[in-house]
Amino acid sequence: MCRRSIGCAHCSYTSSLGYSCPGVAPGDTARPKVPARMQTMLKQRTGLRAGQASRRVMKVRAVAAPVKTAATAAAKTPLVTPEAAKDLYYDMVLGREFEEMCAQMYYRGKMFGFVHLYSGQEAVSSGVIRLLRPDDHVVSTYRDHVHALSKGVPAREVMAELFGKKTGCCRGQGGSMHMFSAKHNVLGGYAFIGEGIPVGLGAAFQSKYRRDVLGDEKADSVTCSFFGDGTCNVGQFYESLNMAALYKLPHIFVVENNLWAIGMSHLRATSRTSGDNDPHIYKKGPAFGMPGVLVDGMDVLKVRQVAQEAIERARRGEGPTLIEAETYRFRGHSLADPDELRSKEEKARYQARDPIPQLKSYMLEHGLATEADIKELEAKVMEVVEDSVKFAEESPKPERGQLLENVFADPRGFGIAENGLYRYQQPGFSSGTAIVS
């Protein structure tokens, strides 16, 4: 979908029609003329007044196995239950407030290094991860705080990890970019984009192995890997698409396309798919033999619907799906990024599509929650976030003894010292002062 104009009628087309935008030049915000023939097709297909942007337009473009547009677009009954809606709302608000608190804490000198905030993208994390089971796996990149929270890692553990305390989920050894949780099956947090995707594939391989080799009929856990538009030019992405489709692994590739990789615009970094004006990432799925779906990543209910289908597909053993979620980060790439290259207009446009107020009005409109319910959820989030900061502040720092402990799962890996004992048996090993090489 072309992002350059607002509410352009062209963007309500499914790409399977073979229609391509008549060429809107960069910077051109005027609405291009819609050919008459196309106008009629538009009316027939979506039942909308051509040229009018509406949140209810089903902006899901499937390249293979199209989502049923008509049914959902005209749906009068809500797409989710009240419980699910409240869960989603709580999760998104938690993600938002947590990240905003991180910004505050960073500028107050409580956390250091590279911290990448997720503000604005909550619909993707909540929309996908809240559908997963505890035994499903999630893999992310450095923008991983909210993925960990959505998967169930307590806010306390994430904040303590960010503060570098020993009560952090990784004992303070991972930091912002390496959130891991064995209990909640969060396989990391990776600093090099792309390197987490094959790891996610490995978890999916394990799931299939359990079923096909170890004979566990109930083994149908899926893995979701989250990464951005920049990652889609890394070789490992393509290597993973190929292997996932080849081996029919229960793996879902979720591209959080926020248009920017630090200061590199997606449009400047990625070549356009043939016949298109934009580099469509979702179209790369069918090239490898899996469906590619484009979804409005600022609408949690749409993301959830697409994710539901992909997860069920994977559990049935039908293989992977590539989901491209159109989203945006309200803050810079990291807290160190001056964020000077993105235009105010672009930022304002996406702020207007903030997923949290969208869900809030949807819930109120459809009677899924009252104002009081919503206030209660928000208050609970603030409580949790403030508690996490208090916990992190009061937690002790890692001791020197942690230095050598987790380098090897089997500490014999440090070898045998001159006196014939293993190094881990020497005094000073558990206090982190031993010579180990």
């Binding site: 796996h137 893999v139 952090g168 990784c170 004992r171 303070g172 050894q173 991972g174 390496h178 891991f180 949780s181 064995a182 396989l187 990391g188 947090g189 990776y190 600093a191 090099f192 390197e195 995707i197 094959p198 790891v199 996610g200 594939l201 490995g202 978890a203 999916a204 391989f205 394990q206 799931s207 299939k208 192995y209 096909d212 080799v213 170890l214 070789g235 490992q236 290597e239 993973s240 190929n242 292997m243 080849l246 081996y247 402990e405 987790n406 380098v407 090897f408 799962a409 089997d410 014999r412 890996g413 440090f414 070898g415 045998i416 010292a417 001159e418 006196n419 293993y422 190094r423 090489s437």
Partner: protein, 371 residues
């Protein structure tokens, strides 16, 4: 009595020379013993021994699996997984596409979630493409996750200089991988230790990078049984001696032993230690040897710059300085890409004549035959 001591030495036990006896060469039992031993157990080639190790471990533990290029239907480019796919199926002996970084990462993810993959690099050199996954994820992930996830992988494959394979197929990656924290580096050299060490590596919870050598796959010898599992951190005393300690590993062990033949005839009595564990070093064996001989020579196939010998030399210098009568001699490959032409290739790597010359230089003039 001598015959039985010879047999034990051949089996790898450390046996000191009896009074009035020449030093026992553990790799060279007496002729009668040899024939008798052959009659009892059969000799197999190293690739068969490695295959046995993989087969036995896969049978013992259903989470052990193999991934790599051509490991399945082709049987492995050096036959180390010959026929295993028929026994265990296509998923347990997985033929991967050519995407080293991708399938190495997939191996890491599988290991983190409960499987025990053996990832094969068709040639160790190809694993340069997997360096990202080996360094960041194999090596560091257990630490970065605060101990939550372990990566019990074995990364194995043939490396070293072959016969005119050209520069890119003749690489020694042990020197590149040695700084990665969190991995162990093991180099096998004989039929017996290759099987026992590979079994140990598969059972280990640590990520092990297991170096085989292209030219050793057809070496013949006896392999141990299903229960013989070596220690991954111990060096092997190949030959006990008193004049000088020669530290070596992989194919250079044979080059050294060839030199030792000549040296023994000239009256020298070198001690030969096969490092086995390239990282971490077995400092007990190494220091015991140096304290005895007071001279150290390192013979390796790595480049001189930043090689295993460079690390070992530094460690010996730091911790055993006062036990040395002579500076540590390093015989390493030249810092040049390995040429295709035979003569240039031979000039790149260490030859046995260089080892002889180094021992003569370090030990000094001819020494009378030892009692």
């Amino acid at each position: 009595m001598l015959a039985s001591r010879n047999v034990r030495a051949a089996a790898g036990a450390r046996v000191a020379a009896a009074p009035g006896q020449r030093a026992i060469l553990a790799a060279r039992p007496g002729r009668r013993t040899l024939i008798a031993a052959k009659a009892q157990k059969k000799e197999i080639m190293m690739w068969e021994a490695l295959r046995e190790a993989i087969d036995e471990e896969m049978e013992r533990d259903p989470t052990v699996c193999v991934m790599g290029e051509d490991v399945g239907h082709y049987g492995g480019s050096y036959k180390c997984t010959l026929g295993l796919y028929k026994k265990y199926g296509d998923m347990r002996v997985l033929d991967t596409p050519i995407c080293e970084n991708g399938f190495m990462g997939m191996g890491v993810g599988a290991a983190m979630t409960g499987l025990r993959p053996i990832v094969e690099g068709m040639n160790m050199g190809f694993l340069l493409l997997a360096f990202n996954q080996i360094s960041n994820n194999c090596g560091m992930l257990h630490y970065t996750s605060g101990g939550q996830f372990k990566t019990p992988l074995v990364v194995r494959g043939p490396g070293g200089v072959g016969r005119q394979l050209g520069a890119e197929h003749s690489q020694r990656l042990e020197s590149y991988f040695q700084s990665i924290p969190g991995v162990q580096l093991v180099a096998c050299s004989t039929v017996r230790n290759s099987k026992a060490l590979l079994k140990a590596a598969i059972r280990s919870d640590n990520p092990i990078i297991f170096f085989e050598h292209v030219l050793l796959y057809n070496v013949k010898g006896e392999a141990g049984g299903a229960d013989e599992v070596a220690c991954l951190e111990r060096a092997e005393v190949v030959r006990e001696g008193t004049d000088v300690s020669i530290f070596t590993y992989s194919r250079m062990r044979y080059v050294v032993m060839q030199a030792v033949n000549d040296l023994v005839k000239k009256g020298y009595n070198p001690e030969v230690i096969d490092l086995i564990s390239l990282k971490p070093f077995d400092m007990e064996t190494i220091s015991n040897s140096i304290k005895k001989t007071r001279k150290a020579i390192i013979v390796e196939e790595c480049m001189k710059t930043g090689g295993i010998g460079a690390s070992l030399s530094a460690v010996i210098n730091e911790s055993l300085f006062y036990e040395l009568d002579h500076e540590v001699i390093r015989l390493s490959s030249q810092d040049v890409p390995t040429a295709y032409a035979y003569e240039l290739e031979a000039a790149t790597i260490v030859q046995s004549s260089q080892v002889v010359e180094a021992v003569e230089r370090v030990v000094g003039g001819r020494v009378a035959a030892h009692a």
